[in-house]
């Protein structure tokens, strides 16, 4: 099955494309709404600002296309800010609605540790996305995260617990960067690519 990578300008698409190809994915990189709406397996990357990433989705009607694909039963993987975009709302500089595919809100870390979190962190996970890496270590770069949400499938701790990954039916999201998480990250991507 083909994997469709959404070609967001607010993301490091090249790195994720390379990692997906390394897992054997037959990859299609696009920002065409028709192709996204018809996709069976979608990857939504994102780095930097939630607001900028969400604005790009809405202004280009990619948000509608993603909803259409998900409603048809497509699998969707959000990565980093792409994962945050799945939620109802983010509180990054005010409140910005997300795609609303996952219940919950994204908040800034309020612990005593330096923000952004930059580095490896231990993740306790379950579910098909984490098959073989239920107790893995992944690479994070983030100042914001969801925590204690109903669809949480993976949890990490950064001055307090936060949600490292979510799954609601065919929609999954990972807060870390699988493309920078060596073998464990590639395993998660391979699990997604192979997910039926």
């Amino acid at each position: 099955m083909k994997t469709t990578l959404i070609d967001s300008p607010v993301a490091n698409v090249a790195n994720i494309a390379r990692a997906l190809r390394a897992t054997g994915a037959e990859l299609h990189v696009t920002r065409d709404t028709k192709e996204i709406a018809k996709a069976q397996k979608l990857v939504l990357p994102g780095v930097g600002s939630f607001i900028a990433a969400m604005r790009w989705l809405t202004e280009n009607r990619i948000d509608t296309a993603i909803h259409e694909a998900v409603n048809r039963g497509a699998s969707l993987l959000g990565i980093c800010v792409g994962h945050q975009l799945l939620f109802d709302v983010s509180h990054e500089m005010g409140s910005t609605p997300g795609l609303g595919l996952i219940r919950g809100e994204v908040h800034k870390f309020d612990g005593s540790l330096p923000v952004p979190q930059i580095g490896w962190n231990r993740v306790t996970a379950r579910g098909p996305l984490f098959d073989g890496v239920e107790d893995g270590v992944f690479y994070f770069v983030n100042s914001y995260a969801a925590s204690n949400v109903p669809d949480e499938i993976a949890r990490a701790d950064y001055g307090g617990p936060f949600t490292a990954a979510v799954q609601r039916e065919r929609v999954v999201g990972v807060q870390f960067h699988p493309e920078k998480s060596s073998a464990a990250g590639l395993r998660v991507l391979r699990n997604f690519v192979a997910w039926t």
Partner: protein, 488 residues
């Protein structure tokens, strides 16, 4: 591990003595005010030392203990307790436990009487050590027993907790005696005390086997360690792995002093070296372009591009980055983070500009520090020339400007294999919140541990040590894991 704030009392006030000297007193004020200002929640364990009693042998500050106990604080009190009557009096005043030093070393029969009367769980044996010798009576004379003898005697009495203070470290903020605590062979639950000056010290102590609690004194009073932060970090000491990072020095597209591995076809090829190090467990890769002249810039970008194409761990690149355009070009070529050195010292605004443009996570300050007299100076031009800028102050400034992490290289130690410069690391890690990568001087596995444990580094870097196969990344990680330091 529990984190226990300590109040030394003298004349009804909270004070600190430097090296136990009653002539060198710093006064912090009324105990209640001090506790309120430092946010000590009810239910906390609190360590109280009656300093006058430690000198005279007669309890003085009983009324304060009585008042603090009514606040729901669990008080362990020490200072000159030499008789069963005194011990009982403190417990009746509301102390949960008493801390007994002198008697434990000199007169075990008194200690036995106290344990029999109050119960072993009420008694903490306090043992002051200087250079491996047990000291008693408020630091003013040597005891008659060795540390091992005292520990054995304490265990025989059924006591379960021992407060061990290296008094050469106490109040001096140079870090606790990790080696001392690691060397202890005892079933006692150890309370570490003395020299704990940063949250990183607290975390490092929590990773040592039988340490059940640590006492924080001056660093707590001075606000350098916040109790809530220390407790949060200790609650999850193993969540965040410390990183081991190989560094490739590249000149004109080739690794300088190539990697000495049998299973590599081209020891000078950065791509082959990078792949090898990722599979060996490297948590990140640093490439420093040491040619980095304008003429070689395109070669350098090509190296970064080719390496990033083959690498699935973070890649940090530095060397000759002068402008925001240089920075952007390296990110575009595939670097995750870019290290700035000389150009930032000459133009600190470059850090702020790059942070605003690319995010602080992309900015690494590379600081080459050299000891000059009693301080460290930031060097420029590959460590060859002094900038006249204080290295520690510069690191702090760079954090404010927007640096995600600091790559701190000791120019003095670089290439010596004599160990990282712990003093330099502590000077920087005790004042910045961002992570510090220790660089320069690695020679054996203990050096890596010390940089993290005592130096407070969040990552350790080496080049030729790994290239020459004197140590593998796996050796380092295995050793760190055995020492209780979390690794990936």
């Amino acid at each position: 591990m529990d984190v226990v704030p300590s109040l030394d009392l003298l004349g009804g006030k909270v004070v600190r003595l430097l090296h136990g000297d009653f002539a060198r007193v710093t006064t912090y004020g009324d105990p209640e005010k001090v506790l309120d200002s430092l946010d000590v929640p009810a239910g906390s364990r609190l360590h109280i030392v009656d300093l006058e009693a430690s000198r005279s042998g007669k309890p003085v500050e009983m009324e304060i203990v009585r008042r603090l106990a009514t606040r729901g604080l669990r008080i362990q009190v020490g200072g000159g307790i030499r008789s069963l009557a005194d011990a009982r009096a403190w417990i009746e005043a509301g102390a949960e436990k008493i801390v007994i030093g002198t008697v434990a070393a000199d007169a075990p029969e008194v200690l036995r009487a106290i344990v029999d009367d109050l119960g072993a769980e009420r008694v903490i044996a306090a043992i002051d050590v200087r250079d491996g010798v047990v000291r008693v009576a408020g630091w003013e004379r040597d005891a008659t027993a060795s540390l091992a003898e005292v520990l054995a005697r304490v265990e025989e009495l059924g006591i379960r907790e021992a407060l061990i203070t290296d008094i050469s470290k106490d109040g001096a903020m140079r870090g606790p005696s990790f080696a001392l605590y690691r060397s202890l062979r005892t079933k006692l639950r150890i309370i570490a005390s003395g020299g704990v000056s940063t949250v990183s010290d607290v975390v490092s102590l929590s990773r040592i086997g039988n340490i059940g609690a640590c006492v924080i004194g001056r660093a707590f009073l001075d606000g350098k360690i916040r109790l809530s932060e220390a407790r949060a970090r200790v609650a999850a000491p193993n969540a965040i792995p410390e990183r081991v990072i190989p560094c490739l020095d590249v000149r004109e597209g080739r690794v300088v002093k190539g990697v000495n591995f049998a299973d590599i076809r081209d020891a000078g090829d950065p791509v082959e070296c990078a792949i090898l190090y990722e599979s060996a467990g490297a948590d990140e890769l640093v490439i420093l372009d040491i040619s980095a002249t304008d003429a070689n810039r395109s070669t350098s970008l090509d190296v970064v591009h080719r390496v990033s194409e083959s690498l699935f761990i973070p890649l940090t690149v530095g060397g000759g980055v002068r402008t925001i355009e240089d920075f952007r070009a390296l990110l575009r070529a595939g670097a995750d983070r870019v290290a700035i050195n000389t150009a930032a010292i000459r133009n600190p605004q470059l850090i702020a500009d790059c942070a605003a443009e690319f995010g602080v996570q992309a900015v690494v300050l590379s600081c080459d520090a050299k000891r000059v007299g009693d301080h460290f100076e930031a060097m420029v031009r590959g460590g060859k020339e002094s900038s006249g800028v204080d290295a520690v102050a510069w690191c702090q400034r760079a954090e404010e400007l927007g640096t995600g992490e600091i790559l701190l290289t000791s120019v003095d130690r670089d290439g010596t294999n004599s160990g990282f410069d712990i003093e330099l690391l502590r000077a920087v890690t005790s004042i910045v919140k961002i992570g510090v990568i220790a660089s320069g001087g690695a020679g054996n596995v203990e050096h890596f541990r010390d940089a993290i444990e005592a130096g407070g580094a969040r990552a350790v870097l080496a080049a030729s040590l790994f290239h020459d196969r004197r140590l593998s990344i796996g050796d380092v990680k295995q050793f760190l894991a055995n020492e209780g330091i979390p690794v990936r």
